[in-house]
């Protein structure tokens, strides 16, 4: 993939993340204003296609955005070049995706209690 396409991918993933961050924080503030337990949260998220789609998209965007940003940092600050840089940034992206996907699955999968 060309450098320009990677640049666009990072900017477009940022475009996705910006409203998601606001919505994520907004919902958190709204949801906990009168106190809410973990069980109550899971009661709303488990089995919810909406929350699964929202956070799964969020995780994909974060994984792409962060990995591509760190790819440049690794190049300019750590002097990594060539395959070393590409493999390292890919591993960062896959690692973030694995952590995020695990979290999303944990709170959205399961029965509709």
């Amino acid at each position: 993939m060309t450098e320009f396409r990677l640049y666009m991918l990072q900017r477009l993933s940022a475009l996705v993340m910006a409203p998601f961050v606001l919505l994520h924080i907004g919902v958190m503030i709204y949801a906990i204003r009168d106190g809410i337990s973990a069980a109550e949260i899971l009661g709303r998220t488990q089995g919810s296609v909406l929350w699964f789609t929202f956070y799964a998209t969020f995780v994909v965007a974060v994984s792409i955005h962060a990995a591509l940003g760190l790819r440049i940092v690794l190049s300019e600050w750590a002097g990594l070049r060539g395959p070393t840089r590409e493999i390292t940034s890919l591993a960062i992206g896959l690692g973030l995706f694995a952590l995020g996907a695990n979290a999303v699955w944990s709170v959205t999968a399961g029965g509709t209690s």
């Binding site: 450098e3 320009f4 190049s75």
Partner: protein
């Protein structure tokens, strides 16, 4: 000879060396004159203290872009920099331009800088032949205004030396070459906008700019390479989304 302004000479530390000789500071005492420039100081050292000091200059009036050096750690055109404005406690430090290989002392190899002008497709793509008439250009048109904004570049490499992205990424084309590309992109007499956008979208292209703006801060001609690079980013994004150029 202008009048000596004070009895105590200024202390001028010059970074000297080159390939095979690590850079080392050497301090000279130089009399302070009225209206003295940093280039005058360097010339005084070469003519009166050490004739082996190497540096580069030509016009002495801020037109040729030959005499740029690091002065107190920042890039400046030395022929138009008054010593009294940069003296700190009666001393200054002068060194070779950052981000370019040193040939000897204060003279750097400008080849990487100019090679990148070519890499950025900084050459004219004519719309007509020599047998055609001259195309009329409206100086007030938006494109011409954009092109005009960048044409006073004197190729001094001050922006290139100021740029932290160049320091971190040897492939990066740098502010001057990208500003040249943007100027040509907006030139109505330039036929091939696409090849310019291709040239500035590669592994050292405009998209690596972090918009820190050192180029614009230090440009001695008060040009705005940062805005030119932003223009190129915008033009490449427009093309990505299928917006046609003229």
């Amino acid at each position: 000879m202008a009048e000596v302004l004070q009895q105590d000479p200024m202390r001028v530390t010059v970074l000297r060396g080159g390939p095979g000789a690590p850079m080392r500071p050497e301090t000279f005492e130089v009399p302070l004159y009225e209206s003295q420039t940093v280039l005058d100081v360097v010339s005084w050292i070469q003519q009166n203290s050490d004739p082996t000091l190497s540096y580069r200059f030509a016009c002495r009036v801020g037109m040729c872009g030959s005499c740029a050096m690091m002065v107190n750690g920042v890039p400046r055109w030395t022929c138009r920099t008054h010593v009294q404005k940069v003296l700190v406690g009666g001393a200054i430090e002068v060194g070779p331009l950052r981000n370019l290989p040193v040939i000897k002392d204060l003279a750097v190899d400008m080849d990487p800088f100019f090679d990148k002008w070519v890499e950025a497709e900084g050459r004219h793509h004519p719309t007509r032949t020599r047998d055609d008439g001259i195309a009329p250009i409206d100086p007030e048109s938006a494109d011409r205004q954009q092109a005009t904004a960048g044409i006073e570049c004197i190729n001094c490499s001050v922006c290139y030396a100021a740029c932290d992205t160049v320091a971190g990424n040897p492939d990066y084309l740098g502010p001057a070459a990208l500003q040249r590309a943007w100027t040509l992109y907006n030139d109505e007499k330039n036929a091939d906008r696409g090849s310019i956008l291709d040239a500035v979208s590669g592994k050292g292209g405009c998209h690596f700019c972090h918009s820190m703006g050192s180029c614009t801060i230090y440009c001695p001609n008060e040009l705005n390479p940062l805005a030119a690079i932003a223009g190129l980013k915008s033009a490449t994004a427009r093309r990505f989304f299928g917006r046609r150029d003229r």
